[in-house]
């Protein structure tokens, strides 16, 4: 417990978290500080590319083993499973409509790559290593949750309506959305070029990484804070509680999965983080196409305004500490 608290304290006072807090405060105080959309997207491309590439290089270093395949399958399974659990909890805790609940559930099955990146930073700072392929697991967990959620809808209403919501164009958009392609693509490139490739671009993707992450989280804080200001009112206690309970439930399931797989302590922590985090890029877009009637204020405010800050500040140190207690070596 002491360890958790001290890790949490270190984490809370890192430039990364403080930048996020600055963003939230600035937005709540209605400062006009903002990042141009192009700059935000540019930073996000940089982070995805860097994290994917590093993962690939690490796999090239350590070789591919059976666990990579198993972990990918486990990730897909988790992403498909978690929305069902989230949906059940939402039905119990809240009075959200079937559609809104399914839309929220999709977000919690999928993952937030920035939460993942922040967690790898914390692991690095604590000297805990993790499997390089975890970034591929992250990519694999982006999409299945969307299909699960749409299945929930089709089961509830008439099946024909469900089918109409998921056409082949949408399926392609989901599977080939920019962040998946960039993450997987740079992972493969890192895998192919290995340490040589890393040597050539290290001073671009490794050295400035933490700094870019700071600015990106400042922007995330601004967006989350603005979302809270505008959309916070729609959140009643039920959904709010869900936004904190679900990551705890998700991370527990992630923990069990990781222990069954026998991954490293770092890998265990990352499985927990992925299961605990909620999407804010790929899933919202898919929901606008497939479930336009679902209220974006609810799922965006929950994912970006409640669960993301929770994971960033308290969740990650908690998951890391638990992984250290339970995890193998």
């Amino acid at each position: 417990m002491d360890q958790i608290l001290s890790l949490a304290a270190t984490n809370l006072l890192s430039p990364i978290i403080l930048c996020f807090v600055l963003g939230v405060l600035a937005a709540l105080a209605r400062s006009d500080l903002h990042f141009p959309e192009a700059v935000a997207k540019g930073m996000s491309i940089y982070l995805l590319f860097a994290i994917g590439f590093k993962g690939g290089v690490s796999v090239a270093d350590h070789g591919i083993d059976l666990n990579l395949g198993l972990s990918l399958l486990a990730g897909i399974f988790l992403s498909a499973l978690l929305p069902l659990i989230a949906f059940a909890i939402l039905k119990a805790l809240t009075s959200l409509s079937r559609l809104d609940a399914a839309a929220v559930a999709a977000h919690y099955g999928s993952i937030s790559i920035v939460t993942f990146v922040a967690a790898t930073s914390v692991l690095e700072a604590s000297g805990i290593t993790s499997e390089g392929y975890m970034v591929a697991v992250a990519a694999a967990m982006e999409a299945p949750a969307i299909l699960s959620a749409l299945w929930l809808i089709s089961r509830g209403g008439d099946a024909e309506d469900g089918a109409r919501r998921m056409d082949s164009a949408l399926l392609r958009e989901i599977m080939l959305n920019g962040s998946i392609v960039l993450l997987v693509g740079s992972f493969v490139i890192g895998g192919i070029t290995g340490a040589d490739g890393m040597a050539r671009i290290e001073s671009f993707i490794v050295n400035p990484f933490q700094g870019v992450l700071c600015l990106f989280l400042l922007d995330m804080g601004l967006v989350a804070g603005r979302g809270l200001r505008e959309g916070g009112a729609v959140l009643r206690p039920g959904p709010l509680a869900f936004g904190v309970i679900m990551p705890l439930v998700g991370s527990s399931i992630g923990l069990v999965t990781a222990l069954l797989l026998g991954v490293s302590t770092g890998g265990t922590a990352l499985f927990m983080v992925l299961s605990a985090s909620a999407s804010y890029i790929a899933v919202p877009a898919a929901m606008r196409v497939a479930l336009p009637e679902a209220n974006p204020s609810i799922y965006l405010t929950l994912s970006l305004g409640v669960t993301f800050p929770f994971n960033l500040t308290l969740g990650i140190p908690l998951y890391v500490a638990i992984a250290q207690t339970f995890g193998g070596g």
């Binding site: 903002h34 990042f35 141009p36 959309e37 935000a40 997207k41 996000s44 164009a169 959305n177 920019g178 922007d219 601004l222 967006v223 505008e230 959309g231 804010y280 890029i281 899933v283 919202p284 877009a285 929901m287 606008r288 196409v289 336009p292 009637e293 209220n295 974006p296 204020s297 965006l300």
Partner: protein
């Protein structure tokens, strides 16, 4: 100068639906349009702005079609089928164009 009667249709629609709309327009034989970026807006579903966003989930575009009056209904039906379930605004204005042979 000699000008010709036409209709200017302005469709404000979510960015995620853009390709679906333009495909529907193409299928309906409407192959000329211009797409403007939208910075923000407000409606029954609240305020939004593109500032600092990385999500594709929020954000809109404006599709502007200039079209011969007799093709208006085809266009509106094609557009309506796409925007029906989605948020968005469709407005039509009478206009005059130079170079009618282009439409």
């Amino acid at each position: 100068m000699k000008t010709h009667q036409a209709k200017r249709v302005e469709i404000t629609i979510e960015a995620v639906m853009q390709s679906r709309l333009t495909e529907a327009l193409n299928k309906a034989g409407v192959t000329g349009y211009t797409i403007l970026p939208v910075w923000g807006g407000s409606g029954r579903s609240g305020n939004w702005t593109r500032q600092g966003q990385v999500s594709r989930g929020q954000g809109m575009v404006q599709v502007i079609c200039i079209i011969k009056p007799d093709r208006l209904d085809t266009l509106l039906e094609a557009a309506f089928a796409v925007v029906e379930r989605h948020i968005g605004v469709v407005s039509v204005v009478d206009c005059e164009v130079l170079r009618a042979e282009r439409f």
